[in-house]
């Protein structure tokens, strides 16, 4: 590819930066194998889980896409969006409207949702040119509430409180005489996964080409970027447009997951969940935020299943019925989960005390993984409980699960203080290895681990 007459890599010394480190053939195979296994796991996930949970997997994939959309704003432009549920909701209602009222094919509906999503994000982006930082975050907060309460309740467009139908594409439904085990739900999950993969690749290319680099330069210092010839307005708007487009796609996929969309799916709680999952995943890190999305996608449904309470959307204005269900079935599963959490934290604590700095990298990663799994599972379950309470739903009446919200959030806070870079920071070494880098970076010049944590701590 090189067009100039640079010296061939072999002529350069091994420590010459022009000659970057690459893994050995064996290392390359090992990386590809692990990568393949992860891909296979993602593809197999909808097949493995029980039929009733397939949509939960789809939801995880969609949340992954939403997290990528959030990441463009929070990670690349440094703009905190507290109203991202509106971005997603606009996509969802647009798709539903096109599908039921206009009758275009599904993919066309997704395309329109993408365009409308991008357009509304651009309008908000225009504001970001004038209103900045904290002020802008609050504008998005008000925009989210405004969209949910006003726009999504315009009956002619969205069906109002009754919601709107969003059928799935015909091509994921198995033929009538089909008797195999691959259901329409599974096919739809794969469709969502395909979108996630495609957007992931586009996002990756974006950050490693001129567009993404320009946007990130703006985040750090718009004056410097301008002095290098980067058009501040154009690239700010580009980032907003992209984020909105991705959110629009996610919204369309979200709508068709349940085949139905209602304004209640886009409350402030949802917006905060998006912020949480992006931060917990690790702002600025693609694998991090997508993992965060996966983890938080399971939040409400898993809780609902564990507690055997009616679904959140349904239990709204719960009344007597919800209370009754609440009072029944002490969820032993939750007690078990918390046992595991405490065990995990205990192991990690012992490991830390016993091995300390002498831990090998493998031990450190293993410890990190245990801590990660235990702490985040606890945090998620706990957060779910607290969110439920904030929504006014009765979830806890028996003794055991009462501890959830408290322990869960304590774990979230402890982990955030330990790893401000979130999951991405915890998994830094394996992620670097997987992206064909060294497992252990000798020159630890990066500050604070996660790329975002590093960047922000250096910001004045």
């Amino acid at each position: 590819m090189a067009t100039t007459t640079a010296p061939a890599p072999s002529e350069l010394g091994t420590d010459d930066p022009r000659n970057p480190w690459t893994p050995s053939p064996a290392g390359r195979i090992a990386r590809l194998a692990v990568f393949g296994l992860l891909m296979a796991a993602a593809i197999a996930a909808p097949l493995i889980v029980p039929d009733v949970q397939v949509n939960l997997v789809t939801r995880a994939f969609v949340f992954g896409i939403i997290a990528l959309s959030m990441n463009i704003l929070i990670g690349y432009t440094g703009t905190v969006s507290l109203g991202h549920q509106a971005f997603v909701g606009v996509g969802a209602f647009t798709a539903a409207y096109i599908l039921t009222n206009v009758g275009l094919p599904w993919l066309a509906a997704v395309a329109v949702a993408m365009l409308v999503g991008a357009l509304q994000a651009l309008l908000i982006g225009v504001l970001a040119l004038r209103v900045q930082g904290f002020f802008f975050a609050i504008v998005t907060l008000a925009y989210g509430l405004f969209t949910k309460e006003v726009v999504f309740n315009i009956t002619a467009l969205t069906g109002g409180g009754a919601g709107a139908q969003a059928p799935r594409p015909a091509f994921v439904e198995p033929a009538a005489d089909y008797a195999g085990s691959i259901t329409g739900d599974v096919r739809y999950a794969w469709l969502a996964l395909a979108f996630l993969a495609a957007i992931w690749v586009l996002d990756w290319r974006f950050t490693s080409s001129r567009g993404g680099r320009a946007v990130q330069a703006l985040r750090d210092d718009s004056r410097v970027a301008a002095s290098w010839g980067i058009n501040v307005r154009a690239f700010t708007l580009l980032a907003f447009g992209l984020s909105g487009a991705v959110a629009g796609i996610a919204g369309a996929l979200f709508a068709s997951t349940q085949v139905f969309v209602s304004p209640e799916s886009f409350t402030l709680t949802v917006a905060l969940t998006y912020v949480l999952m992006t931060t917990v995943g690790g702002v600025g890190s693609r694998p991090g935020v997508v993992l965060g999305g996966f983890v938080f996608a399971g939040l409400a449904p898993i809780l609902t299943a564990l507690h055997d309470t009616p679904g959140w959307g349904v239990a709204e204005e719960g009344g007597e019925g919800a209370l009754d269900v609440c009072a029944t079935a002490p969820p032993r599963v939750v007690a078990g989960v918390f046992g595991l959490v405490l065990l995990g934290v205990g192991i990690e604590a012992v490991r830390h005390l016993a091995l300390g700095e002498r831990r090998t990298h493998v031990q450190r990663v293993l410890g990190g993984l245990i801590f990660l799994g235990a702490a985040w599972l606890g945090a998620v379950v706990g957060l779910g409980g607290a969110f439920g309470a904030l929504g006014g739903y009765c979830i806890f009446t028996s003794i055991t699960p009462l501890i959830e919200p408290v322990i869960g959030v304590v774990l979230l806070l402890v982990t955030l203080i330990q790893f401000p870079g979130g999951i991405a920071e915890q998994l830094e070494a394996p992620l670097r290895w997987l992206s064909f880098g060294k497992f252990h970076e000798e020159k630890s010049t990066s500050v604070g681990g996660g790329s975002a944590a590093g960047s922000s701590s250096m910001r004045p």
Binding site: I74, G78, T79, V80, L127, L129, R130, V131, Q132, F134, F135, A137, I138, V139, L141, A142, L145, F146, K148, E149, V150, N153, I154, L218, R219, S222, A226, V232, R233, T236, V275, T278, T279, V283, G382, L383, G385, A386, F387, A389, L390, G392, C394, I395, F396, L402, I403, P405, V406, V409, V410, L413, L416, I417, P420, A452, A453, S455, S456, S457
Partner: protein
């Protein structure tokens, strides 16, 4: 992401002096427009003003805490509302004799007893805020701002969880400071609406001004707000207050001159926590009932928006923004109600509208310093 021009439109088009004139003119014009609009839309302006102020005052107490914390530590404290809920529950527990099965009756609550428990609750709120500051916010000093934001969201959820844990997600009756008092007092002479007996409209514990009911609790809340705001103004002139201001503007320089940044940060949070607690106790009185998370779900977001309207680092701005927001929301509700329009979510519409309008003309809020 700084846009290259962020001065006011007026300042750019005209000089600063002319800009000021235009601004005064614009404010006058806005007032006239509102009066005209009110008469066109059949909205009772007086009632909107009174009811709007009633909500705005509680917003203001929350907003003051948010602005103070943001000014001194650059953190948006999502737990500000929940500190208030905790304080309200402390008062509730105290009045109920630590028996959570007791249903509080307004007329059984002694004024002084309530004041006593409130003082304790305010101290609890302050301590709680200091703990959050020391335990979490200061630990995350070097993390991205959004991480700190998420941590405070976590704290809010933790507090909600803890409240649910002990009190369950049930509404509980909560007293006002002043619910009694002579009824039917008429002030202002202009009695637009009278009862069947010919008395001016005024239920028990309220008096009427020009036909609008005003509760004594409202008067007390307003008085408290005025006292708090004045105390804050005085505080910023004391050595401690000056040190706080200095730390917020030049932390490094302040440290060099012997001011402890840690202590200042904790001081700001503690003060804000006390405001939050006060807001919770008065906010509980608005609906005379409290549930876990009520301050967060009812007052937090409007207070944040109000603080931003005022310029986020300005204390008078937070108060003005809160009153403005309360009045605008009430206006929107009345306009929709009076005309039977089917506009969904008038308060949210009004909130977004007023925020856009203010920030487009003043990108750093009404009282914010232009960058």
């Amino acid at each position: 992401m700084a846009s290259l021009t962020s001065s006011s439109v007026f300042d750019r088009v005209l000089g600063p002096e002319e800009g000021r004139l235009v601004r005064v003119g614009a404010s006058l014009g806005a007032v006239i427009a509102v009066v005209v609009l009110a008469s066109l839309l059949n909205v009772s302006l007086l009632s909107v003003l009174v009811n709007g102020t009633q909500t705005g005052v509680v917003y203001a107490l929350v907003a003051l805490g948010i602005a103070l914390v943001y000014k001194s530590t650059r953190v948006l404290n999502f737990a500000q509302g929940e500190i208030g809920t905790v304080a309200a529950f402390v008062v509730y527990l105290g009045l109920a004799g630590f028996d959570k099965s007791v249903i509080l009756q307004q007329n059984e609550v002694a004024f002084l007893e309530m004041v006593g428990w409130s003082i304790l609750a305010i101290m609890v709120g302050a301590v709680l805020a200091v703990l959050i500051n020391l335990g979490i916010v200061q630990q995350l000093q070097n993390a991205a701002p959004v991480t700190t934001l998420v941590a405070t969201i976590g704290v809010a959820l933790l507090l909600v969880g803890a409240e649910v844990l002990y009190f369950e997600a049930l509404p509980r009756s909560f007293p006002q400071f002043l619910a009694g008092g002579p009824s039917g007092v008429e002030l202002g002479g202009l009695c637009l609406s009278t009862t069947a007996e010919g008395a001016c409209l005024g239920a028990e514990g309220t008096f009427a001004v020009g036909g609008v009911n005003i509760t004594y609790q409202f008067l007390l809340t307003t008085a408290i707000l005025v006292v708090v705001a004045a105390a804050l103004g005085v505080f910023f002139r004391t050595p401690a207050g000056t040190a706080l201001l200095a730390t917020s503007q030049e932390p490094f320089a302040a440290q060099l001159s012997g001011v402890s940044v840690t202590a200042m940060s904790a001081l700001a949070w503690g003060t804000a926590g006390a405001f939050g607690a006060l807001a919770g106790i008065l906010g509980g009185g608005v609906f005379q009932s409290i549930t876990p998370g009520f301050m967060t779900s009812l007052f937090l977001v409007p207070a944040i928006v109000a603080a931003v309207l005022g310029g986020i680092t300005s204390m008078p701005g937070a108060v003005v923004g809160s009153l403005l927001l309360g009045i605008v929301q009430t206006f929107a509700n009345s306009a929709v109600g009076a005309n039977g329009w089917s506009v969904p979510g008038p308060p949210q519409l009004a909130t977004f509208g007023v925020l856009l309008l203010v920030l487009l003309f003043r990108p750093r809020g009404l009282f914010g310093k232009e960058a």
